[in-house]
Symmetry: C2
Subunit: 457 residues, 2 copies
């Protein structure tokens, strides 16, 4: 829902160019709320409002604008004002933004930035997407290991303004190699002994990531060790940046969305659903739809093989979808349970024997339950006199027996395949679902027809 | 992989009861790594090692043990030592732990705890699970609004040891009503003017949650406003606790796991996969498997209705699974894209017209692609002379035309249903997938048979 509460007032202030009221509007609320109230404004109008806030606040409100509005503002508004804004934005967010701005405009903006910010951008842009290097900000609280507590606090209170977080303060040697970490809390409690050396307060067993580590490794480490932020070091163990918890939460959300899309056989979208062009959507969905279509072709071949029997005992046709979907659903359940358990570290590859045993038992229990329902359905659906196969003694057992076997095979193959993919070094979330669907469909038809031929012979 | 690197040494130290070396082991590494190295030890042995660490460190290492080991230790080890440990654990984590300990043991432990910790536990236990009240810790950095910067820092440096985070410092009035917030960074930078009042430094537009707010609201707010921690207030707007980012990350992970399980038609598990009993697994999967079975029964009824035609044109049977799975996959893709876009706020209910239009176009594009493949497959699979329907002029068009219609209907119903559920105030993630599967299966059969009857007439 677009927040339109203040829109008429805002438009009026803009029309009158009422500096005082526009300034008031920008400062009165939390920056996130201010940005919310501007949702209904065009990029150009939003920027006209922002120009009445001082630079620091302007940057904060701007940070809460939707990504598309940010890009629109950067591309259309006065270059030197935009450069001034960009110089103030955290280094990691700035690179993310410029990534989506037209290259010709970036080239125009770069010379307007202060030299060190420009170098910063060129450096960060070199790291590939979804690596720790691309996630980090270079503004990190860093102090020499030879400082005293008093000196350290003096230095920090001077620098604190420019830093994204001072929860952790990193201690480095002369060559900027990371030596230790001290929390702001520890430093504060040590104020009583101001001449103590920082070196004697710091923790030396550090959890770090390297610039080239993938973002999944960063999120996993932060979650595992319950960190507020994680330092990033280069190949020479020099401290080059920090990844803070908000970037980790963003990465988590993105991972969760991508996992959901992958498990529904959509190649992850790079932009939001609404910003993705129809052609891209077509391609991202079409690839996997085609793969699934090819696996479904095998089920067509299997059915063709049994065409004669199916025409002879026509009532068997009725239950094909029921049996295939029961096997597929059971397999999908198992695959998802195993994939989420692997992700959260609840199970390990070495547990495979116990997992298979559990899935075999649960599969039999679920299959047995559905078999009872299947028996009733089959009886009810084939009561008519046109179903001549009723002269066979065992016909009422075909559907229930098939269900037990199909659901159990679905559960077992649904748990084996993700474990197998993991063992082979592939991402189980990416590959498992189409394969489980394909395998369980073919199994379902082969089992169904084999059971039918054996019992109706 | 269990880390067994130090296990032989640890067992030896335990056998010798070598206090010095066990103490060294506990202090040498990051607590998370120390806990890792103890993974192979039983609960009792792990506790014997921990007893050689001082209380603070003991609690830190204990916090990194797997949940099951923590419970085992609490239930089996010396009650007064456990009480001493519990008294030191953060209030929110303590309540989570005691939640899973046998009630009789909790009753034995409670009297051994200091009176205020005991009151704390009884109070926090009253909040229902998955609410802000149950997530929060009560140890929050809180100062009166009449203090000066110098006094505030003095007070904080005394209290800092007991607090989980001092990133945000909350400012309250005499009645403990929340008035404002000041970051530790801001306080540090104000050290130059020690007589300034905290009241004049603080931000007053606060983002808060209430004790009864559901955990999804907490995670959404923290992510939206990029907060390090969020304050929790009671019905009288009094500050009662704080939820820190690590609890938010845990909640995020749990939500992502539950969403994945729901979309695979598994009722979310409360414990890990390995800790869930077979009976519970059976129940959590069986409920949804039965629901899906019932929807599949409708497809059986639909097929039964067309049994005569299917026997007459036997080759139609071969393509039933292919057509149903294409429609189902397309619907599943759309539903997941819409659900994730709703979750991340990328689309709103009011966009429904544009969404339907997009899905209609993408569905036609995808259906068109599969139709080409379907035409080839149908031609190839039914080449044999036994397929007498080849005397009909239009027979090669049955499968392709059906695919276009089925894939498009799948895409549209896959996007309509989540929007509809959202509109009705239901959780789209919970209800959509089974319904989309059921609807698209029945549509597939009805469309297939209608197209066949019209073209082969």
């Amino acid at each position: 829902m677009v927040n339109t509460l203040f829109l008429p007032e805002l438009r009026e202030m803009l029309a009158e160019n009422n500096s005082f009221e526009l300034h008031e509007f920008c400062t009165a609320l939390h920056p996130a709320r201010t940005a919310e109230f501007m949702e209904g404004l065009e990029a150009a109008d939003s920027w006209s409002v922002l120009r009445h806030a001082d630079l620091k606040l302007r940057e904060e409100i701007f940070a809460y604008f939707p990504h598309e509005k940010q890009i629109a503002i950067i591309q259309t508004q006065d270059r030197s004002e935009i450069a001034e804004l960009l110089a103030d934005i955290a280094a990691d967010d700035r690179v993310d933004l410029l990534h989506d701005v037209q290259p010709t405009i970036v080239e125009e903006l770069l010379p307007l930035l202060p030299a060190d910010e420009r170098r910063e951008i060129l450096k960060l842009r070199e790291y590939p997407e979804n690596t720790a290097g691309a996630m980090m900000t270079t503004e990190v609280a860093m102090i020499g290991d030879a400082l005293t507590v008093r000196k350290a606090i003096d230095e920090l209170s001077r620098e604190a303004e420019h830093l994204e977080t001072i929860y952790y303060i990193y201690v480095v040697d002369r060559d900027q190699r990371l030596r230790g970490v001290v929390t702001a809390r520890r430093l504060l409690t040590a104020l009583g002994k101001p001449d103590k050396l920082v070196r004697d307060l710091m923790d030396i067993d550090l959890i770090v990531v390297h610039t080239s580590d993938p973002s999944q490794e960063v999120t996993a480490k932060v979650a595992k060790y319950d960190l507020h932020a994680i330092p990033v070091v280069d190949d020479h163990e020099r401290l080059v940046g920090i990844i803070t918890h908000d970037d980790v939460i963003d990465a988590f959300r993105q991972e969760a969305t991508e996992d959901a899309q992958r498990s529904a056989a959509v190649a992850p979208l790079e932009a939001g659903y609404m910003q993705t062009s129809l052609l891209t959507l077509w391609w991202k969905r079409g690839v996997w739809l085609t793969v699934l279509f090819v696996t479904a072709m095998f089920t067509a071949s299997a059915l063709r093989y049994y065409e004669g029997q199916l025409i002879r005992w026509g009532w068997l046709i009725i239950f094909i979808p029921l049996i295939m979907s029961s096997g597929g659903n059971s397999g999908n359940q198992s695959a998802t349970l195993i994939i989420t358990a692997l992700t959260t570290g609840n199970i390990k590859l070495s547990d495979w024997r116990r997992i298979l045993w559990r899935e075999l038992l649960v599969g039999l229990m679920l299959g047995g339950m559905l078999a009872v329902a299947g028996f009733c359905v089959a009886w009810f659906q084939t009561m008519g006199p046109e179903h001549k196969s009723h002269s066979y003694v065992w016909w009422p057992l075909v559907v229930p027996l098939t269900l037990v076997l199909v659901v159990t095979c679905g559960a077992v193959s649904g748990s084996v395949l993700p474990l197998l993919f993991k063992r082979l070094g592939l991402d189980p979330a990416l590959m498992s679902n189409p394969f489980v669907a394909g395998v369980s469909d073919i199994l379902a038809i082969v089992i169904y027809m084999t059971v039918a031929v054996l019992l109706l012979r």
